[in-house]
Amino acid sequence: MSSHVTPKKTYFAVFGTLMALTALTVAAATVDLGGLNTVVALAIAGCKAGVVIWFFMEVRHARPMTRLTVAAGILWLVIMLILLSSDYISRGWLGRSQGW
């Protein structure tokens, strides 16, 4: 992997984007969107994380294996959350409390 020197102004632009998204997430949190507040907050945080990973961490110039590693880490977290929620969502389906 030869070094790929990114121009400074790219980093400044990334910083500006992150600041804007931070302001946006605070602004969005003040509006009552019902159940969507969490979704919006997570979506914005996901965008910010994506920007950091893609530009600051230079995944855009990284090898496929690096990208695969990032994807695997996220995928495994998703596996954990989905299977966990399969339990918690369906606990009450029998129509009686299961103690929690």
């Binding site: 294996m65 695997a72 880490g73 495994w76 596996i79 954990m80 299977l83 966990l84 399969s86 339990d87 918690y88 969502i89 369906s90 606990r91 389906w93 029998l94 299961q98 103690g99 929690w100």
Partner: protein, 549 residues
């Protein structure tokens, strides 16, 4: 760049004995600060053997107690502490590091034609972390023991137990990072350090199995690390993460615990499967059947392994709908496991099989793993598990996997690569005898447990109804034979280290880069980086190419 790597300044070795990794330098420091993956493997070998015998000691105590129906040898509390320490020692400090940290550490660089692992310092660090975790856990044991079971279920572990949960939790937490770093090191090494020509599908299946194992270690272990940390915080500082008084859910602990601890079973068995794949083809003198299927089934087991953890929780308050999903997914693991077993059998078909000790362990592995695996399908059944949960049926099932599978593979591998590791041959007659003793002892110990468990004897009690005594006496008798089967190799292997016949570089006529190095190998493994031009296990072409070696 490091003192331990530099050739010794004084005392050149005698002209007759060539320099190898064992005699390259001497002394305490040369081992404690070594960066050589082979020496670190031996450090692990010594320490896991120690922990194995400590865990074994507790197994002896358990079996002694269970000879009679009454709880007469030990109090219930001491019995609880004994099975806890047995489980913790065997699972966290023997089985999980056993094959990866000893054989994997020793062999992966040799098998892929590298001078060392990608991160030798990290490798040494992970041994120190392992020892630190082990020592803390030993301290917890000496200070009075822990009685929670190795699973440390909340709220008992966080609130009610009066034993040394905190120390042990920290010990296991620390130990987890040893496992993570080993896995990380292997993945990078396998990706970046392969010799020219050694493409992915030319890799030995042992390496594939370790790759899959490492994925589990890196992605699974951190979850138990944080979970145990939460238990420690709850116990130590009253942060009630799993405390129902604060609206916490104890079952959440079980979810997070088994998210790692089920895949951990595959950390134990996958490397063993890798060993078996190497052994079965060598002693059948035949190219392995279905190379790609065996390789890919390792990866499949690693991935599926993360989808099934809920089958430990069918009766613990988890939603039955989630139970159905986990039950179905659990059956999926049977597919790649069966692929492997069928492929090993097909490899033996029409091979010219020789019955050396490592091959005897392979036979043991295949038979016992099959029993363990098939009973696994039984307990993966949502309905049947309600009957069998927490009985000796479960105990027998996972011992067939962990001992009948993982330990058989470990011992087979140790025997197979012993000449490479030590430069000495072990006594074949004794070795065959002890393999037989082990097999008989193992089955006598654990097969009756299937029966008594099915009849309803629950696990984790020091007393039981009298009608179960005959099974328990059989089991305890088997355990003493099994213990003998572990002691004999311990003795003759130690003996052979000094007095065994000198081993040639390739005593088995096996394929693989590790056998092209001298026995024992030199510190940097290869004089020059080898170039690989053929597939793995090219045994069929042996006759043509034998002259050129």
């Amino acid at each position: 760049m490091n003192a331990a790597l530099a050739p010794p300044p004084s005392a050149p070795p005698p002209a007759e004995t060539p320099t190898h990794y064992l005699n390259a330098n001497y002394g305490f420091r040369s081992w404690m600060f070594t960066l050589d993956h082979k020496r670190i493997a031996l450090l692990y070998l010594a320490s896991i053997t120690l922990f194995f015998f400590i865990g074994g000691f507790y197994a002896v105590m358990l079996r002694l107690e269970l000879v009679t129906p009454a709880g007469d040898l030990m109090s219930a509390e001491n019995y609880n502490k004994s099975f806890t320490m047995h489980g913790v020692m065997m699972v966290f400090f023997f089985l999980i590091p056993s094959i990866p940290a000893v054989l994997g550490n020793f062999l992966i660089p040799l098998m892929i034609g590298a001078r060392d692992l990608a991160f030798p310092r990290l490798n040494l660090l992970s041994w120190y972390i392992y020892m630190a975790g082990g020592m803390l856990t030993l301290y917890a044991m000496v200070a009075g023991g822990v009685d929670t079971g190795w699973t440390m279920y909340t709220p008992y572990s966080t609130t009610y137990s009066n034993s040394h949960v905190m120390v042990m939790a920290v010990g296991i937490f620390i130990n987890g990072f040893s496992s993570i770093l080993t896995g990380l090191n292997f993945i990078v090494t396998i990706h970046k350090m392969r010799a020219p020509g050694l493409t992915w599908f030319r890799l030995p299946l042992f390496v594939w199995a370790h790759y899959a194992t490492s994925v589990i270690q890196v992605l699974g272990t951190p979850v138990i690390a944080i979970t145990i940390l939460l238990v420690a915080l709850e116990r130590g500082f009253g942060f009630g993460f799993f405390d129902p008084k604060l609206g916490g859910d104890p079952i959440l602990f079980q979810h997070l615990f088994w998210f790692y601890s089920h895949p951990a079973v595959y950390i134990m068995i996958l490397p063993s499967m890798g060993v078996v794949s190497e052994l079965v083809t060598c002693f059948s003198r035949k190219k392995v059947f279905g190379y790609k299927f065996i390789a890919m089934s390792s990866v499949a087991i690693a991935v599926f392994g993360f989808l099934v953890w809920g089958h430990h929780m069918f009766v613990s308050g988890q939603s039955i709908y989630a139970g159905m999903i986990f039950s179905f997914l659990s059956f999926l693991v049977g597919i790649p496991s069966a692929i492997k077993v069928f492929n090993w059998t097909a490899t033996m078909y029409k091979g010219s099989i020789s019955y050396h000790t490592p091959m005897l362990y392979v036979f043991g592995f295949i038979g016992l793993f099959t029993i363990g695996g098939l009973t696994g399908l039984i307990v993966a059944n949502l309905g049947l598990d309600v009957h069998l949960h927490d009985t000796y049926f479960i105990v027998a099932h996972f011992h067939y996997i962990m001992v009948g599978g993982a330990v058989m593979g470990y011992l087979g591998g140790i025997h197979f690569w012993w000449p490479k590791i030590t430069g000495r041959l072990y006594p074949e007659g004794w070795a065959r005898f002890s393999a037989l003793v082990l097999f008989v002892g193992f089955n006598l110990t654990f097969f009756p447990q299937f029966l008594v468990g099915y009849l309803g004897m629950p696990r984790r009690y020091h007393a039981y109804p009298e009608e179960f005594q005959v099974f328990n006496v059989m089991s305890s008798a088997g355990a003493s034979i099994l213990g003998l089967g572990y002691l004999i190799p311990m003795i003759y292997l130690t003996w052979s280290w000094r007095y065994g016949k000198l081993a040639p570089p390739n005593p088995w006529g096996a394929k693989g880069l590790e056998w092209t190095t001298p026995s024992p190998p030199t510190t940097f493994n290869f004089e020059e980086t080898p170039v690989v031009t053929e597939e793995a296990y090219a045994y069929a072409q042996e006759q043509e190419t034998e002259e050129s070696h």
